[in-house]
Each structure stands twice: as C-alpha cells, then as structure tokens.
C-alpha cells in the first residue's frame, strides 16, 4: 500500500489532504449547500439553470433568486460591518419600513408624481430617514455605551409604529412611473441586482481601499488592544451603525418601489433575522473581528435559494421557517468550538479534553479573558482555566 506520508506533496489534485483543507474553509459548507440546493431543483425544473430573454428582460429561476435576494444582500452588507465591531442591529427591518414609507409619503404629496425630481426627492428622504435611524442607534451604542441588542431593540419595536404613523395606518400606494423605476428594470436586468452589486462593490472599496476595514476588524477583534493602539472605537462604531441604517433604507426603497406601495407592517419583515443568518453563514463571527462581505452575499444567496427551492418543490411556504431555523442551529453548532471538539473526539476516539486543547492551541484567537483566578497569567501560552465561560445574552 503506497499511502503518501503527511509531509509528502500529493500528486492527485483531489487527495484527502487537499479536500480536508478545503472543507475547513469557512465558505465551504455554505457553497456546498448552495450548489446542492440548486441541483435539487434540476429534476423538477429542467430549465433551472437557463436564463432567457423576454420583452428585453432577462428571466429564469436564477434571476428570480437574485431579485428576491437583493434586498437581503443589502441588509446583510450593513449588518456585516456592525457585527464585525461585536455589535448587532435588530432594527434593520423596521428601518426599511420607515424609509419606504417616508419615500412614498413624499411621492403621494408631490405635485407631479411621475416627475423624475419627485422620485429623486423621495429617495433622498428615504435615505435621510435611514441615516437618522443609524445615527440614533449609533448614538446609544457608541456614545452612551448601551448594549447593542437593547439599543437597537427599542427602534425595532418603536420603528414599525413610526412607519405606521407616517403612513397613517394605511398602506400607501403610489402611482409614479419614476418612483417605480427605482425598483424596476434597468435594461435587461432588474434594478435590485444592479443596486445590490453596486452597494457591495462600494462597501468593499470603502472598507478595503481605506483603512476602515482594518479599524473595524481591530475594534471587533480586541477592543482594548485597539484602544491602546489609538483607534477611535466610538467613531468607528458610529460609522458602522449609520452605514447599516443607510443600507436598510436602500433595501426599503427597493421594496416599496417594487410594489409601488409602502406597507409599514410587512415591509422588511424578518429581515434582521435573515440578515444575521446570512452574515453568520458567510463566516463573520457574531463576536466580532474579521468580516467577509463575499461570505455574506453567499449566505444571503443560500437563504434565497433555499426559499426558492422549497417554493418550487411545492413545500408549503410555512415550512420555510422550520428549515431556516434548522439551518441556523446547524451552522452555529458547526461553528461552535465545543461542538467541533466533541465531534472530533467522538470520531477519533480521543478524550474530549485533548481534542479541545488541540483546537485551542491551533486557533489563532486569544482565549477570552475570564479573570484567571490567580491574577494575570504568568505563563505565556498557557491555556486558560478550563472551567469558566463568559456570560452573554
């Protein structure tokens, strides 16, 4: 038997080693899931992967998925930056509703609903609403030091009320060809895809071409070390919450323009939860640090494809939530170091403690500071006391 030694380079491209290495990449499982979901569709929808042209517009299952997913991608992008600073924003759905409602409120009042100026002003108002919401959240988190869950929870609760207030409790319907353009077709492609792509590209530029990405990751990775290195954490946090609000507003504008109406109750419903799921699937950790915008896009696509597939298979729409819940749990289990250590231990029949210790020494993340019982650890590289964990909620 000629088994290759671990250090010898493998000749076959799909060797066990390279496959194992690929499998531990954080985007591996989401990508596999995406492909698998798409393939599941093939028997029932033979033309699943085909994209055709009709009336000058592209159409096909894949296009449908992209249309559905665009607002989720937008929200996910904003959430990614917030989560990277070890924060969270539960209010994005409500903010989307507020933005859409505010824009439609303006259009309905405009002298000429169809004028381009009307649509532009409406979009401006919607964006301003998103900006204001982002500032609100950012103020309470960054300046007042309130826990992000709580600070954004209040806007989540009150936000839909505010949206209903603007709309006077009714669904506002508008009849504006220019406003509908925002969410309509731009040439062969639906605008949603283009806007989402533009925002993703702009965010990537913003975070990687400037130093913003580095500073965000440092604040989330080790807030105290970042502070001692001179990073202005408060300013960074304010920026990401404002950005998140803007992204949510854009999504809200897209949604309301698509339907030429603003529904304060249902616009952007569950978006915050889907968004967090997309971010987590994409490999950004909820505890902050490195973020992966491409991963978030992939995660959103997985969710969109999942919904689309379930719909196409005739699974009642109600079950979607069950599947999504199951996916959340599975992904989080896979990401939990404790679960992985247990799994490895079970597979390889080694004691759990050894597996955990190996995992801990391999991980580049520093152990969480748990207040070592006997003062500062005096031995560099020593594992933290194994009995304590941080409380989070």
């Amino acid at each position: 038997m000629n088994s290759p030694s671990p250090s010898a380079p493998s000749r076959r491209p799909w060797s066990r080693e390279s496959l194992f290495k690929a499998a531990s990449h954080r985007l591996f499982w989401p990508a596999v899931m995406l492909v698998a979901l798409m393939l599941v569709n093939l028997p029932s929808t033979p033309g699943y992967f085909s994209v055709g042209m009709r009336h000058g517009h592209l159409y096909g299952s894949l296009i449908n998925i992209l249309i559905f997913t665009s607002p989720h991608i937008l929200v996910g992008v904003g959430l990614t930056l917030v989560i990277a600073t070890a924060g969270i924003d539960l209010s994005v759905g409500a903010v989307a509703a507020i933005a859409g409602t505010a824009a439609c409120w303006w259009v309905v009042r405009a002298p000429d609903q169809n004028a381009a100026a009307t649509a532009m002003a409406a979009a401006g108002i919607g964006l301003a609403a998103g900006l204001a919401c982002g500032l609100w959240n950012g103020f309470f988190v960054a300046r007042m030091g309130i826990q992000p869950i709580v600070a954004t929870l209040t806007l989540m609760v009150a936000g839909r009320g505010v949206a209903q207030l603007i709309g006077n409790g009714q669904i506002i319907t508008v009849n504006s060809s220019s406003y509908a353009l925002i969410g309509g077709w731009w040439g062969p492609l639906p605008s949603g895809i283009l806007i989402a792509a533009a925002v993703v590209a702009a965010t990537i530029l913003l975070t990687r071409r400037t130093a913003l990405g580095l500073l965000i990751e440092s604040v989330g990775g080790n807030a105290e070390a970042a502070r001692l290195a001179g990073v202005r954490a408060r300013r960074i946090k304010l920026i990401v919450y404002v950005f998140c609000g803007l992204c949510a507003a854009i999504a809200g504008l897209m949604l309301s323009s698509n339907t030429s109406s603003a529904d304060a109750n249902n616009s952007g419903l569950w978006y915050e939860l889907d968004g967090i799921l997309a971010v987590v699937l994409g490999g950004t950790s909820l505890s902050g640090g490195r973020f992966h915008l491409g991963g978030t896009v992939l995660g959103a696509l997985v969710i969109g494809t999942l919904n689309n597939t379930l719909f196409a298979l005739g699974v009642p729409a109600q079950s979607n939530l069950v599947f999504e819940g199951a996916v959340v749990i599975i992904v989080c289990l896979l990401q939990s170091p404790v679960f992985r250590a247990r799994f490895v231990a079970w597979r390889r029949r080694i004691p759990v403690g050894v597996a955990a210790a190996r995992a801990a020494s391999a991980e580049p993340r520093a152990p969480r500071v748990t207040g070592d019982p006997s003062g500062p650890a005096d031995v560099p590289g020593a594992p933290a006391a194994p009995t304590t964990t941080e409380v989070s909620g």
Binding site: A225, A226, R232
Partner: protein, 507 residues
C-alpha cells in the same frame, strides 16, 4: 511557633511537582509544605510559577508529575470542586462572590437553611450574622454585597470559605486593593483562624506584610523553590535577593551609553497620580534618556506607565510634553504627542490575534492617520518588511495570523507597531518577559541604539540586571509609590536598588 517543623505532619504537602506548558516549563520539581496552624507566605515574581502552583493546589490544573498529600494521604485534585471537597478553600483576588446578592446569601449560597423547600430567611440571617460576628466584623448581613468596599467583600469571602470546617485556606493576593486599616483587620482575622488550627497559605508580594503576619515563607523563582524559611530567619534584603537578585559577581558590566542625555525634559510629570493605582509622583524624561522603573510586582510600575500614556486618566497633577502642558486622557492624545506604549499583557492588550502580522504592525500608525487616509500599499508593505527584518520576526511572512506567533515574536511585533510611529517617547512594560535569551539580547541592544538616536524611553522590567544595564536613571517603586530616583552609572548596583526597595536605605 514550632521551631522543629520536621516532626509535624503537614496538612498539605506537594512534592516533586512539575508542570509543562507549550512554551515553557512552569514548575520544575517543586515542593511545598503547609503545616497546621500557620500562616505561610508564598512568594515569587511573575513567571516564577506561583500562580501555577496555586492553580494546581486548587484543582484548576493538574500537575504533570509529583504528588499531593493531605494530612499524609495522597489525593488527586482534578477540579476546583474536588479541591473544595478535600477541604481546601480559596479566596481569590477578584473576590469571586455574587455582588448582587446579600452578604448573608453569599456566605451561605448552596447551604441555605430550608424547610420543605422554603428558605428560612430569619435563620439564614441569624447564621450569617453569627459567623460574621465571630470574625469581629460589624456589618449588616442583609445588605447587598456590592454595597460594601472590596476590603469587606474579601472578608466576606473568607467567612464563606471557612463557614464549612476548613483546614486549608489559600488567600491569593488579598491585600492588593486594601488600605492600611483594612489590611490590619484582615490580619486580625487571619491570626484568629491560625490560632484555631487553620493552615493559611498567603500569596503576596508586599514585603512588610510578610514580616508582619507570616510564620514561614517559600520563595519561587524560575519555576523552582529557592528557599523555604521561617520568617524570623530571613531579613528583607536577603529575601529580595532571593527573589530577584543574582550573585553580585555574576553581574555583567553596564553597557556604556556613549551620550549622556541632557537638555530640557521631553516629558515632565508633576504630582501626577491616580487614586487606587499610584500615588502622585514627579518624573522627568529627557530626549535620549532611558528611565528604568524598578520594583517588585504590584509596586505600581505599570500603573505609572499607563498614566504617562493616557491609558488611564490621572486624577491629580500635570503633565507637560515638549514643554507644553498636555492632558493625556486617552491613548490617542498621547500618540498625537509622540508617545508610544508597549503593554505587558501582550495577549489581552496588545495583539489582535486573528489579524495578520502586517495588520497588527501597521495598526497604530494607521489609526493615527484616521480611516480616510490609508497608507499606500507599497509603502505599507515596505515598512512592514523592513521592521520584520530589523527585528527578526519569525515567521517572516506578514500574512500569518499574529496569534500564532511565539511570545518573543509577539513582543517584537508589538515593538514594530510602535517603532513604526517614530515616537519621541517609548514606554516599554516588561518587553523581555517570557522571551528566549537571544530575543532578549536583541531587544536590549535595540533599546540602547534607539536612545542613542535620541528617543526617550521608560523601561520596566522585573529583572534588575536588565534595568541597570539599560537605564540612565532608575526610578524605584514600592507599594504604589515612587520612592527614589537614582542616577545610573558604575555606582548603581543591583544591591543598592534592592536595599532601596527593602526600605533600609532612605531614598
């Protein structure tokens, strides 16, 4: 006090203890004896193995080799609960109690008197009050614990620890945050316990307190026991020498600084202090001068340094930088004025472990420019490569995650981060701790050459030879106070510093 201790059976005996961690051998053939009815001090600097030994005794770690005997019977302590059940009670420095519960509840949590599932509150209060009174404490046991200062909370922790019949009490740095009166009260309680036959292991670094209340002491250094003595048989100078000194003959010669620093101070602190951290001090640092800070663990060196950097805000005094008054309320303020600070806690305050070497090195410089002005990639990579080379950081790959580096390389990475900002004043807190000898020498050489180029520096180290070798001036600290400023030179020996610390020579 038994003069012949070899006849009494130790209530706790650890022998041949060995503990290896990935990077370092923490304990090497360590033995420790605790006799009934004594207060026994356990001493040692950071890195000496003190905390590791305590963690083994309290079940947090298990030793790789060696044996633990309780009352002569070998036992295995594989968890904190096991140690508790074996009769070893520990009170930690952070007082691990629940501040939101009342004093009485904290004392009896888990042992509340119940009748048919219902807690008997009156009985609970009565029992707690009685226990507390037995220690001479006059507090209202119904008040929430956080209503009381840390000193009282510590005493409550002790009351809880001994509420069950306990034979061994380990007190881990209990006096770090106490004032004189509170310490006296604590010692009172300790003596009472000792007189009842409890064996107390008192982990501390305050020399006075050892001589005030302890019967015997064990000194650890470099993972080994360097001495076990009755307190009466070892004076303070001898003790300090055991802990940090070397044979005078073995000391290297001072590296000679070519240039003597002169001119106006770059940084001048007057009456700068922070309550609870360090008493007001005066300090000058001139360009090209290396000011070393010497003192035992807990003497306030880091606290002083943090004030100079704005990591903590001073609540008294003034600081002027380059002749102009400055308020240093945040690191950003200090960095703007050309001050840099290399923390001693590399992991928790220095590195961002999941970011790459490149990102960690460039962070401070980038942060000072703001997020809108990124350093051009070519220049960034050139700078990073230069510093990796100069400091010999390994692995030399800038894309490796910083968390995977060894201690020495992490330290060099942090140095690179700050050097790249070209500071006027560089504060180094224990830069050579836990580093191999080769890297140590490199860093020391770097310090000398930087000061030759005119950089002012504050250098903190627990190793006296190092401080002596590199400093123009040595500030001596003791018990959170700067007690002396000694000029460097051939007259300044480690012996003199040690005696200053020990207090036998006035500053």
């Amino acid at each position: 006090m038994a003069s012949d201790t070899s006849q009494t059976t130790p209530v706790l005996q650890m022998s041949g203890i060995r503990k290896q961690f990935p990077a370092v051998l923490a304990l090497d053939d360590v033995g420790f004896r605790l006799l009934p009815g004594e207060i026994h001090a356990l001493l040692g600097e950071n890195g000496a193995g003190k905390s590791t030994l305590i963690k083994i005794a309290t079940g947090v770690y298990e030793a790789d080799a060696g044996q633990i005997r309780l009352g002569g019977v070998p036992v295995r302590l594989d968890s904190p609960t096991a140690a508790q059940r074996a009769g070893i009670s520990t009170v930690y420095q952070e007082v691990n109690l629940c501040p939101n519960l009342s004093v009485a509840e904290n004392i009896l949590l888990g042992r509340e008197p119940v009748r048919a599932g219902r807690i008997r509150w009156r009985e609970l209060r009565r029992q707690a009050a009685e226990l507390v009174a037995r220690f001479g404490l006059d507090i209202d046991v119904t008040e929430p614990l956080d209503r009381y200062p840390l000193a009282v909370q510590q005493l409550v922790a002790i009351v809880r620890a001994v509420a069950v019949d306990v034979k061994i009490l380990i007190l881990d740095e209990p006096t770090s945050s106490l004032d004189r009166d509170e310490v006296a009260r604590l010692f009172d309680v300790m003596r009472r316990l000792r007189d009842h036959g409890v064996a107390i292991c008192f982990v501390t670094h305050f020399l006075d307190q050892i001589y005030e209340v302890c019967d015997r002491m064990t000194v650890l250094r470099g993972g080994r026991v360097v001495g076990e003595h009755p307190v009466a048989e070892l004076d303070q100078v001898g003790l300090v020498r055991l802990m940090i000194g070397k044979d005078l003959a073995a000391l290297d010669e001072l590296a000679s600084h070519v240039r003597e620093p002169s001119g106006d101070p770059l940084l001048a602190a007057r009456g700068t202090g922070r309550r609870g951290a360090i008493e007001p001090f005066d300090l000058d640092v001139r360009p090209g001068e290396v000011v070393g800070l010497a003192g035992l663990l807990g003497s306030g060196r880091t606290e002083l340094a943090r004030l100079l950097f704005g990591a903590d805000a001073a609540d008294s005094g003034t600081v002027s930088v380059g002749g102009e008054p400055a308020t240093l309320h945040s690191p950003t303020d200090a960095i703007e004025r050309g001050i840099a600070f290399c923390s001693e806690n590399r992991k928790t305050e220095g590195l961002i472990p999941e970011l790459t070497i490149r990102e960690n090195i460039i962070l401070a410089l980038q942060a000072s420019r703001g997020w809108t002005r990124p350093i051009p990639p070519a220049r960034r990579d050139a700078l990073v490569a230069e510093y990796i080379k100069v400091l010999d950081i390994r692995p030399a790959d800038p894309d490796v995650a910083a968390g995977s580096l060894s201690g020495g390389n992490q330290q060099k990475l942090l140095l690179a981060r700050w050097l790249i900002t070209r500071p006027r004043l560089l504060i180094l807190d224990e830069p050579t701790r836990g580093i191999d000898v080769g890297a140590k020498a490199e860093i020391q050489k770097l310090v000398v050459s930087l000061s030759e180029e005119g950089m002012a520096m504050v250098f903190i180290s627990a190793e006296l030879e190092e401080v002596l070798r590199l400093s123009h001036t040595v500030g001596v600290l003791r018990d959170r106070r700067l007690i002396a400023r000694l000029a460097g030179g051939p007259d300044l020996t480690s012996d003199r510093i040690m005696t200053t610390i020990a207090g036998e020579v006035a500053a």
